[in-house]
């Protein structure tokens, strides 16, 4: 069964676009990446899944339940960490976490302490006295303390130092091993690659591709770097299968998709000093989608 199913979800705020047409599904046990630049509609999609906003059209289900109509039932098994966390300033960390736990009909005291230890979080401090990164830690504990079946993270790593990021990812992997499905939105590719099995790429409110990380990397693109004898013009390399072409003096780089023989034929016709052919970085593939 799909844990999350999003069907042609659309959201307009008055006349301005939130998302245009978003469709994807997440299988049980996946760590699913949701990638796109700022303003592409990641948060809008997530906030609709959480019933914080109502879709203009389309629908979504979580655990097979409608995300708007059955929101409270779904929420019992969902943990959510927003990109910027805000809590009640006057409360102490432990008070806030207990307040949060009180909604889930279970005793989370031991788990709160265990998670706080793992993240180096001082439970006695007041929320208002916490730094941005420490608030984030409160958010992380709050999001997973009730051992949710689905963890939704909206650009969660902002404000965490590299060490904490690593511990956070370890916690997520541990939850994942216990059976939790994860939806991880980000515009930072490296972290998505580290963590996720599959990604959906969103652009201007539409999903442009959903694939596994390895398939995305293994999609036939080659990254070519050439050093020619003497200056070359852009037009010489504007051929079929060539994208992301840059020419600087006698240095040429481009992405190539197509038959390797055709490529080598083409290269053999030119006066070259040097050539390297490599697998492109994930970054470069993504940039390709956004051109």
């Amino acid at each position: 069964m799909s844990i999350v199913e999003v069907n042609h979800l659309k959201k307009y705020y008055g006349k301005s676009r939130g998302i245009e047409d978003v469709t994807f599904s997440i299988e049980e046990g996946e760590i699913f990446g949701f990638i796109g630049p700022n303003g592409a509609g990641k948060s809008t999609t997530i906030r609709t899944l959480l019933a914080l906003i109502r879709p203009t059209a389309g629908s979504a289900t979580i655990f097979g339940l409608d995300c708007i109509r059955n929101a409270p039932q779904i929420a019992r098994r969902v943990g959510y960490l927003p990109s910027e966390v805000f809590y009640y300033d006057g409360m102490r960390v432990l008070e806030l976490l207990k307040y949060s736990a009180s909604f889930y009909r279970r005793d989370c005291a031991a788990r709160i302490r265990e998670l706080a230890d793992a993240l180096d979080l001082d439970l006695k401090k007041k929320i208002e006295d916490l730094s941005f990164g420490n608030r984030k830690k409160v958010g992380i504990v709050q999001a997973i303390l009730h051992e949710p079946g689905l963890i939704i993270l909206d650009e969660p790593t902002a404000g965490l130092d590299p060490l904490m990021q690593q511990r956070f990812f370890e916690l997520l992997r541990a939850e994942n091993r216990k059976g939790a499905t994860v939806l991880f939105s980000s515009h930072v590719l490296s972290e998505v690659r580290k963590l996720c099995n599959r990604v959906a790429i969103i652009k201007e409110g539409r999903i442009v591709n959903v694939d596994t990380i390895s398939a995305l990397q293994d999609n036939g693109y080659k990254k070519i770097t050439l050093e020619a004898k003497g200056a070359v013009s852009q037009a010489e390399y504007a051929l079929e299968g060539v994208t992301s072409l840059t020419v600087q003096g006698n240095l040429v780089t481009f992405l190539y998709q197509g038959g390797v023989n055709a490529l080598l034929h083409m290269l053999a016709e030119r006066e070259l000093i040097n050539v390297t052919i490599e697998e492109p970085d994930l970054e470069e593939i993504f940039l390709h989608y956004y051109r």
């Binding site: 779904i74 910027e84 009640y88 307040y99």
Partner: protein, 265 residues
């Protein structure tokens, strides 16, 4: 249940301060009563010199100002004004603080319907208002009995004292609707004050012009103290209006908040 307790804890100091201030105000105003009661004749003469319009606007009646109920009918207006500000502020802030403080995301992703969240919050501020009303009405009775110079008719006095609570209820409901519907309120007090004083002035103008139809526009006039003093009763049409306004504001608040989009912080 935990939201209810959370809100009570959040507002307990605020409520204590409002209650203490209202009691102090009640005591201060009543302490002036002996001065009024002692010189009934002179006072009546002074008041009669005021233009009719002013007398009506302030609900002053020279014949009764020297009695405890008559005096109270005059001062309760000001106490109601304060009570209304407290109630509408509570109503607005109990919802708007989650939006302004960006904590709505946290609260509304808990496993509760928005209706349950609203009910818990509404009950909490209702308790605050009820506590304030109960204590300050208690203070009113204590002061009235300590300053009285002669026995007085308890009926209209009780009705007027209770009006304080009814007015608070109406304004709590209005505040609740504003809090549910308004986009983002950074500062609650300016909105509370302008709404309360606006409606108060409408009531004063209506009274000055002797336009009973305009009374429907101002909750302060639903329990018109001059009328209560004369008839020892509330006027049914206004009681119905008060109940309808309160119920409608609360229902509209639920309807609006239930469907509203909670924008990203």
């Amino acid at each position: 249940m935990s939201i209810f307790l959370h809100e009570l804890r959040f507002y307990r100091r605020n409520t204590a301060i409002w209650t203490a201030s209202l009691c102090a105000g009640t005591a201060l105003l009543f302490s002036m009563f002996p001065a009024f009661a002692g010189n009934t004749q002179a006072l009546e003469d002074v008041l009669r010199n005021y233009p009719d319009v002013v007398q009506k606007a302030f609900g002053l009646s020279p014949e009764t100002i020297g009695t405890v109920p008559g005096f109270y009918s005059f001062i309760v207006t000001f106490l109601m004004l304060c009570g209304a500000v407290q109630a509408i502020s509570l109503g607005i802030s109990v919802l708007s603080k989650e939006i302004a403080g960006k904590t709505a995301d946290f609260l509304l992703t808990r496993p509760l319907t928005r209706g349950r969240v609203l009910t818990a919050k509404l009950l909490a501020v209702l308790c605050c208002v009820a506590a304030t009303s109960a204590v300050s009405i208690g203070a009113t009775f204590a002061m009235a009995f300590s300053v009285k110079d002669a026995a007085f008719d308890l009926g209209p006095f009780v009705l007027m004292a209770l009006s304080f609570f009814w007015v608070q209820l109406i304004f709590l409901a209005l505040g609740f609707l504003i809090g549910a519907a308004a986009p983002k309120i950074r500062s609650v007090l300016p909105i509370s004050l302008s709404t309360v004083f606006g409606l108060f002035i409408v009531g004063m103008v209506a009274a000055a012009l002797d336009q009973k139809d305009l009374y429907y526009l101002s909750p302060f006039k639903y329990f018109d103290t001059v009328g209560i003093l004369q008839t020892s009763a509330y006027q049914t049409s206004f009681v119905v209006t008060a109940a309808a306004v309160t119920a409608l504001a609360v229902c509209a608040g639920y309807a609006v908040y239930g469907r509203r989009d909670i924008q990203a912080a």
